[in-house]
Amino acid sequence: MNIVVLIKQVPDTWSERTLSDADKTLDRASSDAVLDEINERAVEEALKIKEAGDATITVLTVGPDRATDAIRKALSMGADSAVHVNDEAIHGSDAVTTAKILAKAIGTVEDVQLVLAGNEATDGRSGAMAGMLGEVLGWPSLTHANEMSVDGGTVTVKRETDEGTADLAASLPAVVSVAEKINEPRYPSFKGIMAAKKKPVSKIGISDLGLDAGEVGLAGSLVQVDSFAPRPPKSGGQKVEDEGDGGAKIAEFLAGQKLI
């Protein structure tokens, strides 16, 4: 079975994140970039399927040159090859356009039966890419998986979100997004790291996907950002030491604000 795992390099959430003044997009240069943790779980899940049977794993990313680091990490964990869509024109693409680019890129891998992704990136947080990709591909999407299994032509998932739990089932080909609790991703072994250096990475641009520069990036986006501003820093208000009356003091403050 051919599996594609979507990976994404994101700004480390522990570093300061900002937007670029010039074009109002995420300023990816100003913060540390890491392989989004949830993607490692997606890679791990693909590796489990491979170990249990027979699968070929291709990791797919859309991003600038330095996304190579994220690809290497996934390959050193055990994925077989990678597709790296890297094109200046993509910069600033909205979620709908990104879904279209990903769908085209998945089309470059032969006979894909399963696409795995993280359920939510820490930067864009649209939390819907798997569903959107399924929509473009015309495949079912099974999202927020805490457990999954593939049996014959069927994939089943235990789904958990803030809103509730459910069991999902669909026929392959399908898109599955994994949630935090699905597994603990392995650390790449030394052997894995060495082997990763020899694994094929296919670097393609949007013309290889049959797309035109006007269809992607800021030009192709269906939303336009007009302005942005850092939220005015919330200044700390009063801070008092508890002298046995801390609770009463909070109550007074809340009453003054008409909150109680």
């Binding site: 959430t13 994140r17 937007l19 909205d94 979620a95 709908v96 947080r125 649209s126 939390g127 819907a128 890419m129 569903g131 959107m132 929509e135 495949w139 079912p140 999407s141 099974l142 999202t143 927020h144 979100t161 803030d162 809103e163 509730g164 739990t165 459910a166 069991d167 999902l168 089932a169 669909a170 026929s171 399908a174 986006s221 269906l222 939303v223 336009q224 007009d226 302005s227 942005f228 501003a229 850092p230 939220r231 919330k234 700390g236 009063q238 801070k239 008092v240 030491e241 508890d242 801390g246 609770g247 009463a248 003091k249 909070i250 109550a251 403050f253 809340l254 009453a255 909150l259 109680i260």
Partner: protein
């Protein structure tokens, strides 16, 4: 006037107040029409509330399959209506399920998707809060219809009497090969407490609470204020409180009128989920805890004496 569709947020016919918020927002853009997707009988349960909050029309897409497939029934119904009435916007709740519906609808109808919107004006300019409230962004959709994921708790609900005329929507049968079938659906129920993202008041506990048993101090204060209970990642990771109550970067984003942080240091990860709260109160033993930088009122001290005292004071004032 252009129609504005609002996907009714409900669990088995029990409406969530976010629906009324979306109807209030929709009225700024045009004429609100509510869209009810659910099992037969759902519309009857929700119609009165929808009419009282501005829904001129109520589109009803009821079927047994509405709960048997993941997000497809909602996407199908909304796509049929987008095609038919060319609404100026479609408002959809910004929860996990809603975002999936919104993203898929945007793809299917080739519409611009504005995610996690907290405000909108009559020109269709949407305000988003990103990176956990560190930035606000103004954006608009360049397509005829905008798909808008609306973050709960962003604006005041306004009542507005409207016709609430019901109209059945015929939705084509679900294509099984393109949909995930759902079974054993179990909504997470938070007992008698309000839902975390919908609550006006949230009382949250962190590592400083020290144990799962000690969380009853947090719960007791929460109950005195009719508040939801939240927890920091540190508290969740230590097993003090269940995962679904986690507030922060990797948990829920909340924006209540009042947020009380007990024993939470206030790391960036946590602040990202709560710093847009209107008023923040913090209790922490460490006077240097970063939570105090954003707290409107902070008390340096032991939460195990301060919190019960506050609970008692709240009780006195409300009786």
């Amino acid at each position: 006037m252009a129609e504005v569709l609002v996907l009714v947020d409900h669990v088995d016919g029990e409406i969530k107040k976010n629906t009324y918020e979306m109807l209030t927002a929709a009225r700024r853009l045009g004429e609100p029409s509510a869209v009810v997707v659910g099992t037969p009988g759902t519309a009857t349960k929700v119609a009165e509330g929808l009419g009282a909050h501005g829904a001129e029309k109520i589109y009803v897409a009821e079927s047994d399959d509405a709960v048997n497939y993941l997000s497809t029934p909602q996407v199908d119904a909304l796509a049929v209506l987008v095609e038919r009435v060319s609404p100026r916007a479609v408002l959809i709740p910004a929860g996990a399920d809603g975002r999936e519906v919104a993203g898929r609808l945007a793809v299917r109808t080739n519409s611009g998707w504005l995610n996690d919107v907290v405000d909108i004006d009559d020109q269709g300019a949407a305000t988003h809060s990103i990176f956990g409230g560190a930035f606000t962004v103004q954006a608009h959709a360049t397509t005829d219809t905008a798909v808008i994921s609306w973050r709960s708790g962003s604006i005041e609900i306004e009542e507005h009497a409207a016709a609430g005329t019901q109209e059945t929507v015929e939705v084509p049968a679900i294509d099984e090969s393109k949909s995930a079938k759902v079974s054993n659906r179990a909504p997470i129920v938070g007992g008698d407490r309000p839902e975390l993202t919908e609550a006006n008041v949230v009382v949250a506990g962190g590592r400083g609470v020290g144990s799962a048993e000690n969380f009853n101090v947090v719960e007791t204060l929460a109950d005195s204020l009719h508040a939801a209970v939240g927890a920091s990642r540190a508290a969740v990771d230590s097993g003090y409180y269940p995962n679904q109550f986690q507030v922060g970067q990797t948990g829920k984003t909340v924006s209540p009128q009042l947020y009380i942080a007990l024993g939470i240091s206030g790391a960036i990860q946590h602040r990202a989920g709560m710093q847009t709260s209107k008023t923040i109160v913090a209790v922490n033993k460490d006077p240097e805890a970063p939570i105090f930088e954003i707290a409107d009122f902070g008390v340096v001290g032991d939460l195990f004496s301060i919190s019960p005292q506050l609970t008692e004071e709240v009780g006195k004032r409300s009786s």
